[in-house]
């Protein structure tokens, strides 16, 4: 336990009635409700919080918000640990635990700090230059780089938390709830617009939380409280605190991450999510994202204790924390003056304000004098002293052109150097929206240029830094955005009086001349990029800011260069004698701050990751002990093992049952499309390769579909239900594809074709019974269909009843046996199946799965689209020239088939394979090679597409695509897989009932 030596007894927005304890690097500390990890660490006097990325230099807290570049911590432990959390955004909860990243064994003694001594050998582009050669060594280098780099560790256990995702819609989305954002939300909300107001902090108020400003002659936070109460009472306004708008995407889509319960700490009750990802579609967006203070670039400006002036001020005002005992405030603009005064008010001994400007505005002299703070004009800090924390500062007079230091240093004894290099509007979301920033020399910063989407920036985000200006722009922007959505009259509400002190111009100061004793001046502290690195890049010829960024890695850390971007390109401009406007700025990309994978995944995890489609018979299959196979999103029974059976044994038994007596299979997943219309026949003739004109009502026919390039696309049986009415079936996997394909042709190409398609795939449960006893069983249950072959031949269908259930029965066969596919309304599927199982018991009716189905069809040489074909297979390749009409003038794919390539004799063609070793089942996917060599490469001539052990043949067999295969029947080929070679004889691709007597009988 420690005292909170740097915490004031009164003031701030913390809850002193809620004391909390937390751990940092294994030590326990006290804090209060309302703290962040950063404010609590500072309250306890912890200055050294981490090590830097490349040089492992000691680092402290520099900011008070999401722009923090140094204080990244590993938050939490075990499955809930989260790397790279900004301590400034980690809300304090009881028993919070955090640790420094980038240091081993401890933050105080870090082995990697040797890199700091080797810094001369680690300049910009070091990785690119050093690790490129020899190419094979990269894997070796990578191992070291990955261990040395990386900020923090990813958890290795499953995430125990719940994350939600939601869509949301609004008229006006306001990003940022500082004075401008609150004003915009008020203006839009009052006139009835649907408003979403999001702010990344736990409290609304933005900069007002850290300042001692007044609005309407009262504390500004009173105005904030009033605004919050009013907004909360508006029914169409949604307030989202702790919510970062991390991305601005096309067409006014915003990505938001709401930290719903992070501030409560780890919980066992996960009724509420940890975080919620919002996908917001906004008709208008108001960007009130504020501005980020820039650090100053001077020697050893990364020492713990160098802090942004606004941050030091915010710690004093919002959290009653003194960021140091003895401070100097260094600035080039007015905003640090109230910071100095507030620090002094909070009890920090502010020795001096060091202002680079020769003549600071007179307005500040008297307030400083009253508080006993010196004012040193025309001067700046050139070096920080101390290592693990600031112990002093060297201050010099600055030449009029800023190019050199004049005279001797004055050394200040201080532990806090509060700096302000001016302010940069937070343009990340504007940039992500497609907008191009424009340089405003007046404030020496980029401001939003022309809008590319329905958005507008207001307040500090647009370079307007006065409170009065922020309120005025917020009100006006909110009113205008609401009007654009049809609400209100666009007139902004009146702006209350504020106590602004008019600000004078700033003196741009990008790189303080070096004090000359070897310190490092950091531009990008997170990625350890120094001003020297930028200079080196410029010397080596990098002129484009995008190249500079990638070469030096400036701005490429997890903070995306929030504090470093403008300094880096200003230095580059200086070195290349260009203006900053000419150099331009890099493009910001989402996310603004890191987003957890959990939030991106949401609830699409586990069994919700992808839908599991189940047929109406699924529960029966489960109860019967079936193992399932994934076919697309469908679960299909794979096989039904009896006790102790292997796959091989079960499939042999199932196959034997079908060939000898009777099997039953769930065929419901086959795609089904109802086709109606006077042009239905014309359509079939165009999408199938064969002719359909003479198909009678009551009959069905097998068809093959090609794509325009002539390659096989899908297949199935289509039945003629009436003169203009057909029932098409497709493969299981092709159901949606074929439906979409037909619609595309009819809607986009053949606009006059009078035909309608309706998917009926799941309307029907389809149960196929197959085997020599199929007709006998059906006859018992089906009194109203004449099943004799003469009346109901192969490739016909009949309507009737089966077991009292209205049914459409198709006499088709995928097994080569006598077979009937019984289609019944899906709700009756289980009833049908159970009756068939009961009545079929005397024939030892045997349920079979996809594996047996595949064996049976392969014995017959029936292909499966997607298994025997791969998008480069023609009907001729499959030996199915018989199904390609020579008479039809046109069908899809006809022209493609006449390309010379399709006629090549050495195309891969479907063959059967019989392995010479009768115990040797070939690997599906194995390559057929022309000659066996000791090791690859070997010339490949084809591959095995299907391979099984056949109970009927008593041996293994396979189907394969083999170059010139049809002319090679009788040859022996080598089949190579995983280093083993098998020999197989090439045979015609049919192994069972070659005359087809069994299925017609």
């Amino acid at each position: 336990m420690t005292d909170q030596r740097f915490r004031n007894a009164a003031g701030g927005r913390i809850d002193r009635s809620r004391p909390l304890t937390f751990q940092f690097n294994g030590r326990r500390y006290d804090g209060f409700g309302g703290d962040t990890l950063a404010s609590a660490l500072l309250a306890n006097g912890v200055r050294l919080v981490g090590r830097s990325f490349k040089y492992h230099r000691p680092r402290g807290i520099v900011a008070a918000g999401s722009e923090e570049s140094n204080a990244l911590v590993q938050l939490g432990t075990g499955a809930r640990t989260e790397p790279n959390v900004r301590a400034t955004q980690a809300e304090m909860h009881d028993e919070l635990s955090a640790a420094s990243v980038n240091c081993w064994p401890s933050v105080e003694v870090d082995v990697g700090a040797i890199n700091s001594a080797l810094a001369a050998f680690l300049p910009a582009g070091f990785y690119y230059k050093t690790f490129m050669w020899p190419p094979r060594a990269w894997r070796f280098y990578e191992w070291f780089i990955r261990r040395a780099a990386g900020l923090g560790r990813a958890p290795t256990e499953p995430d125990p938390d719940r994350y939600e995702k939601t869509y949301a819609h609004c008229d006006v989305a306001v990003v940022g709830a500082g004075p401008a954002g609150l004003a915009a939300a008020l203006a839009a909300g009052r006139v009835g617009a649907r408003v979403i107001l999001a702010d990344e902090s736990s409290e609304f108020g933005g900069s007002l939380l850290g300042e001692a400003a007044t609005i309407a002659a009262a504390p500004a936070l009173d105005w904030v409280a009033g605004a919050m109460a009013e907004l909360a009472a508006l029914p169409e306004v949604r307030l989202l605190p702790r919510t970062t708008v991390f991305g601005y995407y096309d067409h006014n889509h915003l990505g938001l991450i709401e930290r719903v319960t992070d501030h409560l700490g780890p919980r066992t009750d996960t009724t509420l999510p940890r975080q919620r990802l919002w996908k917001v579609l906004a008709r208008q967006v108001v960007l009130a994202t504020g501005a980020i203070e820039r650090p100053l670039v001077f020697d050893d400006n990364d020492r713990p204790g160098v802090m942004l002036a606004s941050a030091a001020r915010t710690y004093a005002n919002r959290w009653a924390v003194r960021a140091g005992d003895r401070a100097i405030v260094v600035t080039n603009n007015d905003s640090a003056y109230p910071a100095a005064l507030d620090l002094s008010e909070a009890g920090v001994n502010v020795q001096a304000v060091i202002d680079a400007r020769e003549t600071p505005p007179d307005a500040w002299r008297e307030p400083l004098r009253v508080r006993g703070i010196d004012l040193a004009a025309g001067r700046t800090v050139a070096a920080a002293l101390g290592r693990k924390r600031v112990e002093g500062a060297e201050v010099y007079e600055l030449a009029a052109d800023g190019s050199r230091l004049i005279g001797a240093a004055r050394c200040y004894d201080c532990d806090l150097i509060a700096v302000s290099g001016g302010w940069s509007p937070t343009l990340h979301l504007f940039s992500q929206s497609g907008g191009r920033p424009r340089f405003d020399a007046g404030i020496a910063a980029f401001v939003p240029g022309e809008s590319r989407q329905a958005e507008r920036s207001v307040g500090a985000a647009r370079g307007t830094f006065s409170l009065a200006g922020c309120l005025a722009e917020g009100f006006a922007g909110g009113a205008a955005a609401a009007l654009a959505c049809g609400f209100g009259d666009g007139v902004a509400p009146p702006v209350p009086a504020t106590g602004d002190t008019p600000a004078g111009p700033l003196r741009p100061l990008w790189r303080v001349p070096t004090a000359g004793h070897g310190g490092k001046a950091f531009v990008d502290a997170q990625n350890d990029v120094t001003a020297d690195d930028v200079e080196l890049a410029a010397r080596e010829g990098y002129r484009s800011v995008e190249h500079l960024k990638r070469y030096t890695t400036t701005g490429m850390g997890t903070d995306q260069g929030k504090t470093s971007n403008v300094n880096a390109l200003a230095i580059l401009a200086d070195l290349t004698n260009a203006t900053i406007a000419e150099v331009g700025t890099t493009t910001f990309r989402p996310p603004y701050t890191p987003v957890t994978y959990g939030a991106l995944a949401g609830r699409s995890v586990g069994d919700r990751f992808d839908p599991v489609r189940m047929t109406g018979l699924h529960q029966w299959h489960e109860a019967a002990g079936a193992l399932f196979e994934d076919v697309g999103q469908w679960k299909r029974p794979w096989y039904y093992p009896r006790r102790g059976e292997t796959l091989h044994q079960a499939v042999a038994r199932e196959c034997g049952a079908v060939r000898a007596s009777l099997g039953i299979v769930d065929a419901s997943t086959l795609g089904k499309i109802d086709i109606q219309g006077p042009d239905a026949l014309k359509l079939l003739n165009l999408v199938y390769t064969n002719a359909w004109d003479n198909l009678e009502v009551g009959r069905c026919r097998y068809g093959l579909m090609l794509k325009e390039d002539g390659m096989v696309f899908d297949d199935g049986v289509t039945a003629r239900l009436g003169p203009n009415h057909y029932h098409m079936t497709t493969t299981t996997g092709g159901a949606a594809r074929v439906m979409g394909w037909l619609e595309e042709w009819v809607q986009c190409e053949w606009l006059d074709m009078r035909v309608h398609f309706t998917s009926t795939t799941t309307h029907w449960t389809v149960v196929a019974i197959a085997g020599p006893n199929a007709r006998r069983l059906l006859a018992e249950l089906c009194p109203d269909i004449d099943l004799e072959s003469a009346a109901f031949p192969f490739m016909a269908w009949r309507d009737g009843t089966v077991a009292g259930i209205p049914a459409r029965v198709f006499r088709v066969s995928f097994s080569g046996e006598q077979s009937y596919e019984i289609n019944v309304p899906s709700s009756c599927g289980v009833a049908l199946w159970q009756v068939l199982m009961t009545a079929g018991a005397k024939y030892d009716i045997t349920p079979y799965g996809t594996e047996t189905m595949h064996v049976l069809r392969a014995e017959k040489g029936f292909v499966i689209v997607g298994q025997e074909t791969d998008g480069t297979t023609t009907p001729q390749d499959l030996g199915m020239d018989w199904i390609v009409s020579k008479k039809k003038t046109d069908f899809i794919g006809k022209r493609g088939l006449t390309r010379a390539d399709c006629g090549r004799a050495d195309r891969k063609q479907l063959v059967g394979l019989l392995p010479e070793n009768s115990k040797d089942t070939l690997q599906e996917g194995a390559q057929i090679v022309a000659e066996i060599r000791p090791k690859p490469p070997m010339p490949m001539e084809g591959h095995v597409t299907s391979s099984y052990w056949s109970a009927a043949l008593g041996r293994p067999f396979a189907l394969a695509l083999l170059m010139g295969g049809r002319a090679r029947h009788g040859q022996t080929v080598a089949v190579s897989s995983y280093g083993t070679t098998s020999w197989a004889k090439v045979v015609p691709p049919i192994f069972w009932d070659k005359e087809g007597e069994r299925l017609r009988g």
Binding site: L281, G434, E708, E743, E744, E749, L751, D890, R895
Partner: protein, 93 residues
């Protein structure tokens, strides 16, 4: 993340749509009369412009209608939406 206005259903989220590639590519009236090269042009060759692109989309998870879109491939702005069979409008601003 696009917001696309189906000609029938109005503006809907991109997740409801499927992209169908370049629009206004008519199937040749007599494919057999084309050379292999000309047929390959129809099958495979696409303009892929930087800028305004006429393309077709289908409201796959909605009304299942195909329609045409003029979209700027740089800004992703949608300049026009029109039904199948309608001529390509002048590219707007």
């Amino acid at each position: 993340m696009h917001l696309i206005a189906c000609p029938w259903c109005g503006p809907r989220d991109e997740v409801e749509y499927a992209y169908g590639g370049e629009g206004h590519i008519a199937r040749p009236a007599r494919p057999e009369a084309l050379s292999d090269g000309a047929y390959a042009d129809y099958l495979f060759m696409r303009r892929n412009p930087k800028g305004v692109h006429a393309e077709r989309w289908v409201h796959a998870a909605g009304c299942r209608r195909w329609f045409n879109v003029l979209r700027d491939t740089v800004s992703h702005r949608i300049l026009a939406v029109y039904k199948m069979g309608e001529p390509r409008p002048e590219a707007g601003p």
